[in-house]
C-alpha cells in the first residue's frame, strides 16, 4: 500500500503548483491528495492567513492540530473517515462553516463548542437520533444545516414524512434559515412554533 501524503508534502506541492506562499494564502486546497492524507498535523499551524482549509476527499480519521490557524472560517473535511467532532476549541473564535458530509459521524457532541457556526454540512453520516440535534440548540448563529443521507433523514424519506421531519427539526432548531438546501418557509416556522407549545403561530 502506498504511503500517505503528509500535510507538509501536500502544502509544498500546492506552493509549487500555484506559486503561492502558504503562510499568506486565504484558501489552502489540499483536497483529493493521492495517496490520501491520513493525519492532520502541526504543519497546519503555519497557515496563519488561511480562511478556508480544504481537506476533503482524503482518509483523515481524526480532527486535530488546528491550533495556530488564527483566521480559519471554513473547515472542509468532507469525504474522510471522521467519527466525531473533537479538538475544535482552537478555532472556535473564528469558525463559521464546518463541512463534514460523507464521514462516519453518529454523535454531534463537540459541535456545541463552536458558537460562531453558521453552516454545518453533514450529509451521508450516521445521525439517527433527534437528541443529536438538541446539542445544536445553543448555536444561535446556525442558519444552514444539511442532513440528507443520514438515517434520521432516510427513515423520513422512506416513510414519506419529510414535511414532518422538517417541522420537527425546526421545532428543535428555530434559528435555522435553510435545512437540506431548502429555505425554511413561514408555514414550517408556524407549525414548529405550535408544536413547541408556544401558541402564537406566526408571532
Amino acid at each position: 500500500m502506498a504511503k500517505a501524503t503528509t500535510i507538509k508534502d501536500a502544502v509544498k506541492k500546492l506552493e509549487e503548483a500555484r506559486g503561492i506562499n502558504s503562510a499568506e494564502a486565504e484558501k489552502i486546497e489540499l483536497y483529493g491528495q493521492c495517496p490520501p492524507i491520513e493525519k492532520m498535523d502541526a504543519t497546519l499551524s503555519t497557515l496563519k492567513a488561511c480562511k478556508h482549509l480544504a481537506l476533503s476527499t482524503n482518509n483523515i480519521e481524526k480532527i486535530s492540530s488546528l491550533a495556530g490557524m488564527d483566521s480559519l472560517r471554513t473547515l472542509s473535511l468532507s469525504r474522510n473517515l471522521i467519527k466525531k467532532v473533537e479538538n475544535v476549541e482552537a478555532v472556535a473564535g473564528t469558525l463559521e462553516e464546518l463541512w463534514l458530509s460523507y464521514n462516519s459521524i453518529e454523535k454531534l457532541s463537540g459541535v456545541e463548542k463552536l458558537p460562531n457556526l453558521r453552516v454545518l454540512y453533514l450529509s451521508n453520516n450516521r445521525i439517527r437520533d433527534w437528541g443529536e440535534l438538541d446539542r445544536l440548540a445553543g448555536l444561535e448563529k446556525l442558519e444552514d444545516l444539511l442532513l440528507v443521507g443520514n438515517p434520521l433523514y432516510n427513515d423520513a424519506r422512506d416513510a414519506n414524512t419529510i414535511p414532518e421531519y422538517r417541522v420537527e427539526a425546526i421545532r428543535r432548531l428555530p434559528q435555522l434559515k435553510k435545512l437540506d438546501g431548502i429555505p425554511v418557509d413561514v408555514d414550517e416556522r408556524d407549525q414548529a412554533a405550535q408544536a413547541r407549545g408556544g401558541g402564537a403561530a406566526g408571532g
Binding site: 476533503s56 476527499t57 468532507s78 460523507y102 438546501g181
Partner: protein
C-alpha cells in the same frame, strides 16, 4: 445589470447541459446497467452525479488506470440509481439552486483528472458522456449564481 449579465452568461452552459441530457436515451442507461465492468471514466462520471444528488459514495481510494492515478468509482450505488425509471427525468429537473460549495469541492478531484472530459468519455461510452457536461454545468451554475444572486437581491 452586471449581475443579470453574469447570470445570462451562464445560460448557454446550462442549455448545453440539458441538451446533453436529452441526448441520453433510456436504452443507453439500460445497456450501461447491463455492463459488468463499464469503462472506468463512466464510473467516475456517475460518482459526480451521486455526489450532486447526495447519494452514498465509498470512502476515497485511488487506482492506476493506464498509467494515471484516478479515484475508484462507486458503481454499485450508481447501478441502483439507474434502476429508478425516472432517473433521467430527475436529472432534467435537478434542483440546481440547492447545490452548495461543499459539493462543488467534492467534485474537483474528479474534474482535475486529465481524462475527465466529454470527448474521452464519449469515446468510451457514447451518449452517457453527456452526464460529464451536465455535472460541470451544474457546478458552473452554482459558482455564477453565488456571486450574482446577492447582487440581484439588493
Amino acid at each position: 445589470d452586471d449581475a443579470e449579465r453574469d447570470l445570462a452568461a451562464a445560460k448557454p452552459a446550462l442549455d448545453d447541459a440539458l441538451a446533453a441530457l436529452n441526448q441520453i436515451r433510456p436504452a443507453d442507461i439500460t445497456s450501461l446497467k447491463a455492463l459488468k465492468s463499464p469503462p472506468d471514466i463512466v464510473k467516475r462520471i456517475f460518482d459526480c452525479v451521486l455526489l450532486l444528488r447526495y447519494w452514498p459514495i465509498s470512502p476515497v481510494s485511488w487506482q492506476d488506470v493506464k498509467g494515471a492515478m484516478v479515484i475508484a468509482g462507486s458503481f454499485d450505488v450508481a447501478v441502483k440509481m439507474m434502476g429508478d425509471m425516472n432517473f433521467l427525468t430527475a436529472l432534467l429537473n435537478f434542483p440546481k439552486e440547492q447545490i452548495n460549495d461543499e459539493t462543488v469541492e467534492l467534485l474537483q478531484p474528479y474534474f482535475n483528472a486529465p481524462d475527465f472530459n466529454y470527448d474521452s468519455a464519449r469515446k468510451a461510452s457514447g451518449n452517457v458522456a453527456g452526464l460529464s457536461n451536465w455535472a460541470a454545468a451544474m457546478c458552473r451554475y452554482h459558482e455564477v449564481a453565488k456571486v450574482v444572486e446577492p447582487k440581484i437581491a439588493t
